[in-house]
């Protein structure tokens, strides 16, 4: 019996996506070919582009398919003129690492104790002299806490200072409306697998006027900004996942359902374990994300213990060796000592059921009940 509660790491693949991927695999042609099979492949590619564009709230011609959200983020920072980059302290490593290596300079925008980017600090950084253009990059929602960032205000402030804006919407896509055009941002990144699409496909949304330097040289695919034959099955799956995600956002009750699941989980755990801290719980968050700190209990122990009980959750960000590293996101929030190292992330999605949430709460009793560090939490008050 296993329960998947780690949608922010990657969502469960949607069944309809599997069909779309298989259909695209069956297409013989190369989208760049002149012949009929090529044209059919091209049509499949452009259908998917339109589907993803609808989710992003922009026109299909603004989309460049990439090999991942990480690649989209790297490409976003690749502008030919070295820009000074202002990135929030809670950005994903696929922003922070390339940003630190860009020749135009780099500064971190701090966040407050709730994990929300400090707009005053952004203004101050924008007021500093810069030799060339400035690019502000602030994610729409944080992957670890789910905390929503004030994207509209970030764009407004950046535009007043004449700066470009990139928004990493990898974690927000499918959970809040993106509205790229209305927002007025210059660049935005999305990733298919967070929506229930295939892993290994991303997209960079780009206003037509923005120039970028390709990371991969070769053929003329994606308007010469991303050479290499397109990953058509992956892109078709991305399109299908975007279609489903957009349907959930614009009609029905799926978003409310996920919020209810998350709130049910947090209420049950808070009732039984009053010492629990919901990180970012006092500010607007993604409906599906819960970052829970159990002071005195090592998060990595909890992740292992829950896995052994059949629940997939996470803590911090996993490195390639599988070990858990300290979270730079929680560190940037300047939480009380010990809180960051005791925080786990539970993230739900379209396939999560209320039974799974109740089972998780029951497993909490088992896992915390035998944990030496949890004694101080009053866990013995957990009802059997």
């Amino acid at each position: 019996m296993s329960h998947y509660l780690d949608y922010n790491a990657t969502a469960l693949g949607r069944p309809e996506v599997g069909v779309a991927v298989a259909d695209a695999l069956a297409l013989a042609g190369n989208p760049s070919s002149v012949h009929a099979p090529g044209r059919r492949a091209r049509a499949c590619l452009e259908d998917a582009r339109a589907q993803v564009a609808a989710l992003a709230g922009t026109s299909p011609e603004n989309l460049l398919f990439t090999g991942s959200g990480t690649e989209a983020n790297n490409l976003a920072l690749s502008g030919p003129r070295p820009a000074r980059i202002l990135a929030s302290a809670i950005e994903h490593p696929s922003i922070l690492r390339p940003a630190a290596e860009r020749p135009g300079g780099f500064a971190l925008i701090p966040v407050d104790g709730h994990g929300v980017v400090d707009l005053g600090a952004l203004k101050a950084l924008l007021a500093e002299p810069s030799d060339g253009p400035v690019l502000v990059t602030v994610m729409m929602a944080n992957n670890e806490t789910g905390v929503l960032q004030p994207s509209e205000k970030v764009v407004e402030i950046a535009k007043q200072a004449g700066a470009l804006v990139h928004i990493d919407a990898v974690q927000a896509a499918g959970r809040v409306a993106l509205e790229f055009d209305r927002l007025g941002a210059d660049l935005m990144s999305l990733s298919a697998h967070k929506l229930g699409g295939p892993k290994g496909v991303g997209v960079l949304v780009k206003r037509a006027e923005i120039t970028l330097a390709p990371l991969i040289a070769g053929g003329g695919q994606e308007r010469s900004l991303r050479a290499g034959t397109e990953n058509l099955p992956g892109i078709a799956g991305f399109g299908r996942a975007a279609l489903s995600a957009l349907a959930e956002l614009t009609g029905g009750t799926e978003i409310e359902r996920q919020r209810d699941l998350r709130d049910r989980l947090e209420a049950a755990i808070a009732a039984a374990t009053p010492a629990v801290v919901v990180v970012g719980g006092q500010v607007p968050r993604l409906v599906n994300t819960s970052c829970l700190a159990f002071p005195g209990v090592a998060a990595e122990t909890l992740v292992i213990a829950f896995d052994l009980e059949g629940f997939a959750i996470s803590a911090g960000s996993a490195c390639s060796s599988g070990k858990v590293e300290a979270s730079h996101v929680l560190a940037a929030m300047d939480l009380a000592p010990g809180l960051a190292s005791s925080a786990i992330r539970v993230s739900v999605g379209y396939a999560t059921t209320i039974q799974e949430i109740d089972a998780f709460v029951a497993a909490c009793r088992v896992v915390l009940g035998r944990n030496a560090g949890a004694a101080a939490l009053g866990v013995d008050r957990l009802p059997a």
Binding site: A298, S320, R370, A372
Partner: protein
């Protein structure tokens, strides 16, 4: 079902259930997996017997930095080996980042001990802290019934609870490195390889289980000192601490210079850097003492190494009855590779101290090493050799 113990070279003893009265399928065992042959076989053996096995591998230091390679993956090949084994035998496996604990509890202490003129054994400190305190605590937090390691040592149930005994294979016995294991830790520990006839038997099992590590060489060095260059590691941990000083004879005459006391251990004969002595008829020179404060290395003839009595601190006592004031005749080991010798141990004046009087003089006893007490195969306890007494 035939078990691996039906094969020659292994023993049936280990087929006793790990927890009396509890079926293997009901028993949750954490196995500390280093990626080496011994702990891999330990995990495979228990999984084969039907236990619910959880493999844990500790990342103790930055492998890339230790081997002097930049941008190497944070995990060395040992972690990959452990993961491969866990996947092969179908158990849950996790890697834990214990780098900070290991640096604070083991590496720092190792450097400081060398700078005090001692010859430390970090493997014992590691067993004492990172493994049998922290990892054992984690095993408890995970609801495990016991923690198994690949050490060659036996745990046997006696009338007064679990006892620690030398391994069946005297060549492989690691009881010296486990003297600091407390009785409460021993309750939860298991050592399935203790009854193995020899290392070849372990390797044969590794092959039988199809483990990729079957032919992996044994580790020779202290894990965070690959290549055995202690001085470099200590220089990194305590920059500038290695200062040159004099090499003197027992009368205080300066015979030469050295680059730092960390390059010396008591009983050492080679590499003293003193040549052309007139009195070579007296035989070779040995390091007799290290005066950390004066940064002096005292050398002299082998006879100067003879000791009949030593004092121990930090003593761990595993026998149920306390050590009585009248003393007790035991066998003691003062270095890992040395055979036990007869001695009498008596309680010291302070708590946790013990005096050891050898029946005949022992040579090359270094402060910082362990002295372990045996009654036959049984480990009664042990302590750390001090500079005084």
């Amino acid at each position: 079902m035939a078990t691996v113990f039906d094969r020659p070279g292994t023993t049936r003893e280990a087929a006793q259930p790990l927890v009396p009265g509890k079926a293997p399928t009901e028993t949750k065992v954490v196995v500390a997996m280093s990626g080496g042959v011994d702990s891999s076989v330990t995990a495979a053996l228990l999984a084969d017997q039907g236990y619910e096995v959880i493999g844990l591998t500790l990342q103790l230091y930055d492998h890339g930095a230790a081997v002097g390679r930049k941008n190497a993956c944070c995990a060395g090949s040992d972690i990959h080996d452990a993961r491969d084994v866990a996947a092969k035998i179908g158990i849950a496996h996790y890697v834990l980042d214990y780098q900070n604990r290991f640096r604070d509890d083991v590496m720092e202490e190792f450097a400081d001990a060398y700078l005090r003129g001692e010859t430390p054994i970090p493997c014992i400190t590691c067993n004492q802290t990172v493994k049998f305190r922290d990892l054992l605590g984690l095993a408890r937090d995970l609801g495990a019934d016991c923690l198994a390691t690949g050490h060659y040592v036996r745990r046997e149930m006696g009338a007064h609870g679990p006892e620690l005994h030398r391994a069946a294979d005297a060549q492989r016995d690691q009881s010296y490195f486990l003297f600091a294991t407390t009785r409460s830790q021993l309750e939860m520990l298991r050592f399935p390889l203790g009854p193995m006839a020899d290392k070849d038997a372990t390797r044969a099992l590794a092959e039988r289980f199809g483990l990729g590590v079957a032919a992996k060489p044994d580790s020779q060095d202290i894990c965070f000192v690959p290549g055995g260059n202690y001085a470099d590691v200590i220089e990194k941990l305590r920059p500038g601490a290695a200062e040159p000083g004099d090499i003197v004879d027992q009368a205080g005459n300066v015979l030469g210079r050295h680059d730092g006391i960390i390059g010396f251990t008591i009983g050492q004969r080679r590499g003293l850097g003193i040549g052309g002595r007139k009195d070579e008829a007296e035989g070779p020179l040995y390091v007799l003492g290290i005066d950390a404060e004066a940064r002096r290395v005292v050398v002299g003839p082998r006879a100067g190494l003879a000791r009949t009595e030593i004092s121990l601190k930090g003593v761990n006592w595993l026998a149920p009855a306390p050590l009585e004031a009248g003393g007790r005749e035991v066998a003691v080991k003062v270095r890992s590779a040395r055979a036990p010798v007869p001695a009498v141990i008596t309680p010291g004046t302070d708590a946790g101290t013990v005096s050891v009087r050898f029946d005949s003089p022992e040579f090359g006893i270094a402060p910082g090493q362990a002295c372990v007490f045996y009654d036959g195969t049984r480990v009664l306890g042990g302590g750390w050799i001090t500079a005084g007494g």
